[in-house]
């Protein structure tokens, strides 16, 4: 994985020193909150309901054991013994004291981590497919390009005060696991007919109060033009993006209001001025960054087949975990493992300090020291020999992280909601927990099949509810929590925005409503292979509305 060079080290150390001084001056009363707020946000420090919150960047979701151990150390020493992985593949601590933040940042810098650009109207942490470098269906590893974008966008003087935040995601496979069409810029790394690498470019996707699916504006952009083209997009956005209204300031609104043809014309015109400048990526630079992401030397481990076969016979639970949480690797003797942070009734994405340390040990021993954070709030071991899967499973069982529910209804994305967040209008975690408990039976979950359920505690949609097969949005109505349900959303290569199904449900009703939706699906699907999303797209909302509201209509 990427290692800091001298420049990176100096840059991060200088930022730690700078922000430490700013914190000191703030605590001494030398600068006001109005002066300090933009500075703390640039360094990932928010204020939430109970305390400050610190958001740590995990570039393209890639971590090593040493880094995860440091996160465990920070959780234990400065926080309350746990951290929360987010949909931007980052980690949040919910209780740090401002006075401790300089020490935390120094600890993070010692393992090549920081909190820079995890907030503010700048280019945020670039996300990538969590199976990058391991996936069997991948054309090329998207992370070197995410790293190039990280280097380019870090304290970019022109793009540090954009109209609004800006999110970029990259995938290297046809099957989109990085939700690229829900991003300001989505990049699909692919090969053209000549076998050259480049990108399909999507612009103007996003969730929040005005959800939009990104528009594809280029079928194939040569890889050398990555920065020149992204610069052109950002320049057009920076110039014309609305600064008069925060709620209309994202590029999705600009694309929508300007029209795709005209925005493409503007971007291409800008790009023509840029493409033969220093922004063109030299082949040697691309190769140098790629070298950092060279895959580990995966030696042949053909004994895995026999070992897995026997272990499956010996253990039903291992067999179920294998079927659900283990995916095919590009090397036949290896697999990629999803460590579910969605234990039944647990808080989605939360992990304790001791679990972090144990996972770091497992990654070091069995997974070439590599870990990923998925935008679905799970951890991934991207390279595990099939021969070691049983040992990994047993180690995960010991720490309570072997729930075999990847991609099932209890694998819920949930934002922190009103339990922590000052923007939230309703709680989301307790709803996730209750649904998880209601569908606790893994047998029942497997019978339901793939189902992406996503919950947000306010219209800002950090829980990605718009793109859940089933989405839940919590709002406050007349002083109580009300949960609005959307159906038919999806965040893959066929991205769609869910449709509001009808009136919302109280916190007492919402789990029953979800169960009714699931039962309706089970009753109408053509066969067990027809997933919820496919069935919904076939039949539309009517049967679900009927199931949820028919009684009311008759009563009225």
């Amino acid at each position: 994985m990427y290692r800091y060079d001298e420049f990176d080290h100096d840059f991060v150390q200088a930022r730690v020193a700078e922000f430490s001084d700013q914190v000191k001056r703030r605590l001494a009363g030398e600068i006001t909150e109005d002066q300090f707020r933009p500075l703390r946000l640039m360094n990932g420090v928010y204020l939430q309901l109970h305390a400050y919150m610190l958001r740590i960047a995990v570039p393209y979701g890639t971590l090593n054991s040493r880094q995860l151990r440091m996160l465990a150390h920070i959780a234990r020493k400065y926080d309350k013994g746990y951290g929360h992985f987010t949909t931007r593949q980052n980690l949040q601590f919910h209780w740090p004291a401002l006075a401790d933040v300089p020490a935390i940042l120094a600890d993070l810098a010692s393992v090549e981590m920081h909190c820079i650009q995890t907030s503010g109207n700048c280019i945020r942490n670039v996300t990538a497919d969590h199976f990058a470098g391991a996936a069997a269906d991948e054309v090329a590893d998207p992370r070197p390009y995410a790293e190039i974008l990280r280097q380019w966008s870090s304290v970019h003087p022109e793009f540090s005060y954009l109209p609004r935040k800006f999110k970029i995601a990259v995938t290297g496979a046809e099957r989109d696991r990085a939700a690229i069409q829900a991003h300001d810029i989505g990049l699909h790394l692919k090969k053209n007919s000549a076998g050259e690498l480049g990108f399909a470019v999507y612009v103007g996707g996003g969730l929040g109060r005005t959800p939009m699916v990104a528009k594809k504006i280029r079928d194939f952009l040569p890889e050398a033009e990555l920065l020149s083209y992204c610069t052109a997009i950002l320049r057009v956005y920076n110039l014309y993006g609305r600064r008069d209204n925060k709620f209309k300031a994202r590029i999705k609104i600009l694309v929508h209001e300007t029209g795709v043809d005209e925005i493409v014309r503007q971007i291409e015109a800008e790009w023509r001025q840029l493409k033969d400048t220093e922004l063109k990526l030299p082949e040697a630079d691309i190769a140098a960054i790629n070298a950092y992401f060279a895959p580990p030397a995966l030696s042949a481990r053909p004994e895995g087949d026999a070992l897995v076969k026997q272990a499956r016979l010996d253990s039903k639970s291992f067999s179920e975990w294998l079927g659900q949480n283990v995916v095919t690797h590009r090397h036949p003797d290896y697999a990629a493992v999803t460590i579910s942070l969605k234990g039944i009734g647990e808080v989605p994405g939360d992990v304790t300090d001791s679990q972090m340390e144990a996972v770091a040990d497992i990654a070091e021993k069995y997974a070439f020291d590599e870990l990923r954070v998925s935008h679905e709030q799970n951890l991934i071991l991207p390279h595990v020999a099939r021969a070691d899967l049983k040992a990994v499973y047993d180690a995960l069982v010991e720490i309570g992280l072997a729930t075999a529910n990847s991609n099932l209804i209890s694998d819920i994305i949930s934002c922190p909601g009103l339990d922590y967040c000052s923007l939230a209008t309703a709680r989301s975690i307790p709803v996730a927990q209750e649904i998880s408990r209601r569908f606790a039976s893994l047998e029942r979950q497997r019978e339901i099949g793939e189902l992406k359920l996503k919950i947000s505690g306010c219209i800002n949609a950090c829980g990605h509810h718009h793109v859940g097969h089933i989405g839940i949005l919590g709002v406050e109505k007349k002083g109580t929590e009300l949960y609005q349900v959307t159906l038919g959303g999806s965040a893959d290569e066929n991205t769609s925005i869910g449709e509001i199904i009808g009136r919302g449900f109280s916190s007492e009703e919402i789990t029953d409503a979800i169960e009714q939706i699931v039962d309706t699906y089970l009753g109408l699907r053509l066969n067990p292979d027809e997933r919820f999303i496919d069935a919904y797209r076939r039949v539309g909302p009517a049967p679900f509305k009927e199931a949820l509201y028919a009684g009311e209509t008759k009563a009225a």
Partner: protein, 101 residues
């Protein structure tokens, strides 16, 4: 009825104005029963923010239950107690009526 609340500068912990200082629990916060008292609380809050003791100062609606102040809105109830999913964390986990500086 209103009380004055904010977050403490040094650690961000939620605090309520009580008896001339900032308390870590809401129960005994100073209650404003009329507009004039509410204005006084707002002035105290503005001064404390300007003096860099606290931030995010707000005057919030409360009721009195069994002699103790309780916020009205769910958001403020959760601020006063802690995350509902973690009874072991936040004010709900600590000794009552702890006083801040």
């Amino acid at each position: 009825m209103k009380v004055l609340t904010a977050n403490r500068l040094s650690d961000g912990i939620a605090v309520w104005y009580a008896d001339g200082g900032w308390a870590e629990t809401v129960g005994h916060a100073d209650v404003a029963h009329d507009k004039a008292a509410e204005d006084r609380l707002e002035a105290i809050g503005a001064a404390a923010a300007a003096n860099n003791e606290v931030l995010d100062v707000n005057v919030i609606d409360v009721t009195i239950v069994d002699g103790l102040v309780e916020p009205v809105r769910l958001r403020e109830k959760i601020r006063a107690a802690g995350p509902t999913i973690h009874p072991d964390l936040g004010k709900q986990a600590g000794p009552q009526a702890a006083r801040a500086a």
